[in-house]
Symmetry: C3
Subunit: 401 residues, 3 copies
């Protein structure tokens, strides 16, 4: 994007209605209007282009960004840190083990206590079904109320860094990758995307990525096909969301129990393992009661069930059946690569390797997507602010051209 | 506070004598003169008002702020991070487990090694009686000497984030809360504050908050009443400090073994659990010798002793006996709330809930109090520097009004 | 250094050829030309002087600095944080235990995933012989390729914070200390430096410091003597490097198995313990196979072997034999001090204490050395950028004189 294109993009952004994003959170993509989704993607691209042109996007002279990771994370952790730093915020991680939360303190209290000077709170909470999203809403309510009551001088924005239902920072990055690969959001119309289960010798992988993908990609008029073996169904509420989205946006949403059918003539394939909903439910129960033997038994049983579907692998042969044998392969990473990270996994090594650079590119959008989510929640008129940042023209790297 | 009020406050601050705070630490409030206490509270309010008016308080273009937490912390950890970030400093936590300190390195050496570019060191060390304050003084001496010897280009300021004796960032926030609640420091004269022990089904809580409260509030001409069951006395040195303060400032300092007496006609009540001094002494010995069985036995014995005083609870009934039944309830948080965080605790749930917002507001002063402590140690003429910051008028959030 | 001297130093720097440092890593000092070594030392001194004159060295308005510590660290951790903060970068530590790297993700992938907005990656990996340097090269290759492929918008610089072969941030600080102590790099010619093994009641200490010292100090025309008991030899490749350096730079490189011979008439002594190469090799094997009993047996055997050389101690008596009894004592810290951190160790307490301030000063160069390594990799024309920073004249501490 050239410097003039940045101004054109800001102009285009100004036509989007984003009022409802102001002082609001980003928890589920289907909470957001079409304009808001577009605005987020456009803002991400504008911030990326400004940084590429060595224009500082630093918007906060001081201010905290809090992260709460209730599960392991590398890429999202660094993406969140990168995004917040890009905007001038300093990261402070809440390590629940080092805090006094064990004292029996309420979520309401902790949320306020850490937020006095916080602009954003990013949370990953994807282990327990029925909990992550609920927890985020509880934190959001707490800081909303704290702000209204005058306890917090500003309303910290919540950003969902993966919950039990959705993984919006991932799927929005995926969307940006598709838009840039196919030359515009309008070109996604009618494209077939296969969100398919794939075999992995592991269990307990969250459902949030496939759910997020069918919940988001159905909004661009795509033909979204969800494929998985019997028993590996997703949350029915999210499937309903996909159906509604699809009906509204055009395109289609279909389901199949055959990977081959999903891949046939697909423009994009997203083969990825996840645990059956029923297993996640039982796992949640066992984790909550601390039943270690039960967990072991469940894992063993689940891995055996998985093995029945060991042929759900994204092979070269299967890729040949896609549109002109050239479908775009996608993954949220890290992937289970056959012969590399495991004996048999989600994808054949040669397929993964061929699409390695596109995949890394796909992951690289995440910092900008997160920064856009924050930016749009902080300014009532984001296009105006971006113009001002552009015109300020402060260099990110001193003295570079 | 309006913009003009900020300038008036800075003017008022300029009349305070703060020379001795320059390049000095903040370890105990009773080390500070009345002018210094006032100046700290005023500076906190000025920084808060400037931020509220979107004026950046960033004073350091670069520089480190080091935190050392030898005990769990949430609110103080985030308050310290917020304060340092507000002034432009970057937080670097010293995790003693990840460091080479286990090699047998001296405090003197470590203190210097981490401080080459550090402006401030915040320490929490409240577990061992007789150790926390001693450790802080040792660190202070080390960096003082390092600075004199030319090893350190600047003298890092030490801020006590809670030791075995005092918890000045907490009590100074409490004082600011009182000043703002009662409409000025002059209105605290003659107000009765009950610093009372309260029951909690836990043991080993530090003495630093009650000690800090009687050590500080006796300076404002208040009628300070310390109440606790027999055996739960505080350090006698601090009680002596309270007596001396009170004699100098007017007001009174009295002790009682009846909670009811303390609450009677009180304007402010601060019911909070702590461990008996003798138990803390024994606990320190047992922790140092690693006597786990001894610790378990002590905990059991202490909890049983505590139970004798289970009726030391801040109930609605007791609150009715305070001045017009409307005393301000205070707590340093988190509180042990009956029926919420435990079966029977320090405070009845309805009392806590009624004072929830004031309590959160009370906690919200801490970042500014810490920032003020740092600021006053860094500038010989803080009023002049604040005026310059005000006139610089740099926006904290870009382009906001 | 006065303000005018800063400009003179920048002028001198401009004569150095540093093109090959641009977008390159700093892994081993012997990978760098004489001009590059000199430029790094000069840039460190310029940055230090600018900070001393309250001129901000902040070069990055935003940007991440990643640290990966695979071994404990205090001083290097804080030096790296200080250096990155000095240049305006925000630290984000990769905690491999909290990441998804355990999923079997490749180094290539992780290196890219964390680096989208990263300017520098600092790595300590010194536990396994044959691994640390190899790992750093692998990370470097990964980000180099990621940058070429367009995945990373900038090429993060790798800085070796200690590997199995070299410890360049330490030895470059040591060199700066020598230069400033002896009044210029030209005065190091012909000076005798004794890099000697010393006794310590510990085992498994890395070889990187002694290797780094003989690999670097032989470049300044010094008479470098390496002394150690039989069996405590260093990597033969590095000894070969020292021989080659010495032949090129003048001066000499000799080896002895007598500490006394090394100390005789030495201008500088660097007595420090390390493990025999063969022990490190065996330890690496045992660590990799998780053979705990084998490790215990090895430690016991090694400590017993060590004890044979308990008289390899830097005593006052030995110091008397150095040049006029006044050799400069050096250590990378923390030292094993007889009667302080252990019964018998590397150095007599009175010797250590006498040289305490010089040693702390020596350690204090590290932040600036690291900042210089980063700076030279980021700008093609570092002298021009330093001039611009100087002329910008932004204050590091607001309003200070």
């Amino acid at each position: 994007m050239g410097r003039n294109d940045i101004l054109k993009s800001i102009q285009a952004l100004s036509a989007r209605k984003t009022d409802a994003m102001y002082l609001n959170d980003f928890l589920l993509t289907w909470d957001k209007s079409a304009d808001e989704i577009d605005a987020t993607l456009q803002t991400a691209e504008i911030l990326r282009a400004m940084r590429d042109h060595n224009i500082s996007c630093s918007t906060f002279d001081t201010g905290l960004a809090i992260s709460i990771f209730r599960d392991q994370s590398t890429r999202t952790r660094f993406s969140f840190a990168s995004a917040c730093n890009l905007l001038g915020l300093a990261i402070q991680e809440l390590d629940e083990e080092k805090s006094q939360i064990a004292h029996g303190e309420t979520v309401r209290e902790t949320a306020n206590m850490i937020s006095f000077l916080a602009e954003v709170i990013g949370i990953r909470d994807d282990i327990y079904l029925g909990e992550g999203h609920t927890y985020m809403k509880e934190v959001a309510r707490a800081v909303q109320r704290g702000h209204q009551e005058g306890v917090l001088p500003q309303r910290p924005t919540l950003v969902n860094l993966q919950c039990d239902i959705d993984h919006p920072t991932q799927t929005m990055s995926d969307a940006l990758h598709l838009i840039n690969t196919f030359g515009g959001v309008e070109n996604l119309k009618g494209k077939k995307i296969a969100m398919s289960w794939a075999y992995s010798p592991s269990y307990g992988k969250p459902l949030s990525v496939p759910q997020g993908i069918i919940g988001l990609m159905t909004r661009f008029g795509m033909d979204v096909v969800l494929a998985h073996p019997s028993g590996y169904n997703l949350m029915s509420e999210v499937v309903a969301v996909a159906q509604t989205n699809s009906a509204q946006a055009g395109g289609s949403f279909t389901q199949t129990m055959r990977m081959e059918e999903a891949f046939k003539d697909a423009d994009i394939v997203y083969p990825k393992s996840w645990a059956p909903y029923s297993v996640m439910e039982e796992r949640t129960r066992l984790l909550q009661t601390g039943d270690h033997n039960g967990l072991k038994a469940l894992e063993k049983r689940c891995l055996e069930t998985n093995k029945q579907f060991i042929d759900w692998e994204c092979t070269e042969k299967l890729m040949q059946t896609t549109r002109q044998g050239q479908a775009l392969y996608m993954h949220c990473l890290p992937a289970d690569i056959s012969g590399v990270s495991c004996e048999r996994g989600e994808v054949q090594a040669s397929v993964f390797e061929r699409y390695r650079v596109p995949q890394y590119t796909q992951a690289g959008y995440k910092p900008y997507v997160i920064a856009a989510m924050i930016f749009l929640s902080k300014f009532k008129n984001p296009a105006e602010k971006l113009t001002q940042l552009f015109e300020r023209g402060r260099q990110r790297v001193f003295g570079s051209d």
